[in-house]
Symmetry: C2
Subunit: 296 residues, 2 copies
């Protein structure tokens, strides 16, 4: 294929993408939800997951392993998706890492069209499942677009390679503010933070991005979802905003030099506040407006 | 003067500025302090004000009109600057707008080298003093570099033309989040917010900047000061950071179109986190790093 026809094909694909209406049915996605999504009223985000997982043909697995009370948490989501009339809804009951190697479980995963990871503590989730065959197969199936994956709160935090494991709100961005760990790497290039504006998490996301400036900071508000298509296009669904912090052209970060509790200097970041309907290309680091087609 | 010699003069002035060490003595400035400045230990910011106002030759006027208890508030700062051995320290006792026309007071203002505006409620301050001859003369003396002006918290909020009068933290940026009013316009091009990261004020500053995208958002942390030189150079002093939100290249703001409580879309903002020693040029909208001289 010539460079020219490739470019023209890209344009065509892009137009096609933009022409499609939202939400798109039966097209897998990765959904990072900022926590506190509407579970009782319109349930827009959860309904989008249900649709993307196959609607009434969806076979959904719920992973409540981040929660302190996984049984109750699992039941809440089970009831919701059963109420939507998914074909099958199961809750993964994992208490020990060894279960992540269970051939029956691995077989069951192959049959799923959607996996939903609940909130709680992202470190608990990773301690139980990261690096198990189950989780590796799940990530692989998501990348192959066999499964729609949604994670809310802690379930969203684990989506990047670098994961915010904890931290405070802080009076200013500084290295000691954020505790980093390794996530599942489903979309490696992003660092996710959730409950973003409500819990005043700009400082900790900035501190995380300063530590890994080759990544992109994605702060997701409550009842709001960053939905990633396979081609790296993110679209925003829900009540609040998705805040993108792009350090691609950052100059003069003091991160490597200062004491852990000293304020950071971070110059020339790009900031986007995206709301419902906005789209953003991860590979191009470019916003597509909800209003007037493409913005420059 | 030719364009070329003008440019060369600018370069010379810039080198000269950058060569000078911080804090500079006996050179007037406008100091926007983010509130909660250290009043009892090192008092770095208050000492910088004292030096800029003339050190032991300083004749300082304290304006506690934003406070609910102006007498106590005035006395606190009076004690501090007397303790530093300023030549004269007086507290302005304004209870009625008419006092802003008092010839004796206007004469007294002419004799001052430094004016300090305390915290409290910026609307109370403006209701008492904005538009009076006293305040007009004060602004004029500050612009003529006759007086160093410092304002902390509410006293910093009034420095721009557009002033944040109140608002909440908010779950996402939206128009209803921020109540705008008119400030004193000492540095018209900025919109100041104070107690910035600690009180989670990103959303309200973004909402303000969205309303006036020709301005620059300046969020100042506690015990931190944005010190403006006459030539539009800002330098950061203190414990925390100064957050600059530059909408100069913003595309696709939905501010004019959305409902008051709907989340805003704001694409392509520039964000700088500045810390102690960093400098920023308002006219050039450019950062000068604390570390390696000029950053690109």
């Amino acid at each position: 294929m010539t460079a020219h026809s490739e470019a023209s094909n890209m344009q065509q694909l892009e137009s096609q993408f933009l022409a499609e209406s939202l939400p798109q049915r039966l097209k897998t996605a990765v959904m990072a939800i900022g926590g506190a999504e509407d579970r009782v009223r319109v349930r827009h985000i959860l309904h989008t997951f249900f649709e993307r997982a196959g609607s009434t043909n969806a076979r959904i697995m719920i992973i409540p392993a981040a929660s302190r009370d996984p049984e109750s948490m699992g039941r809440i989501y089970q009831d919701i998706f059963e109420d939507m009339e998914a074909a099958a809804v199961n809750v993964l009951n994992v208490r020990e890492r060894e279960q992540g190697e269970d051939p029956l479980l691995l077989q069951h995963l192959e049959d799923c069209t959607g996996v939903f990871i609940s909130g709680g503590d992202q470190l608990r989730l990773c301690a139980l499942l990261a690096g198990t065959t189950f989780m590796e197969n799940l990530c692989s199936l998501v990348r192959q677009k066999q499964i729609t994956l949604a994670g809310t709160s802690a379930g969203a935090a684990v989506i990047g390679h670098h994961m915010i494991a904890g931290g405070g709100s802080g009076e200013f961005p500084n290295r000691s503010l954020v505790e980093m760990s390794t996530g599942l790497g489903i979309i490696p290039e992003i660092i996710v933070d959730q409950h973003f504006h409500k819990r005043n998490r700009l400082c900790r996301l900035l501190s995380a991005v300063a530590a890994y400036p080759e990544r992109l900071g994605v702060g997701i508000d409550e009842d709001t979802c960053a939905l990633f298509e396979g081609d790296g296009l993110l679209q925003v669904i829900g009540k609040g905003t998705v805040t993108i912090i792009d350090p691609g052209k950052m100059v003069s970060s003091t991160q490597p030099d200062v004491e852990a509790s000293e304020p950071l200097s971070l110059h020339n970041l790009r900031l986007h506040i995206l709301s419902h309907g906005d789209r953003y290309s991860l590979p191009k680091r470019k916003v597509y407006s909800q209003r007037v087609g493409l913005s420059p």
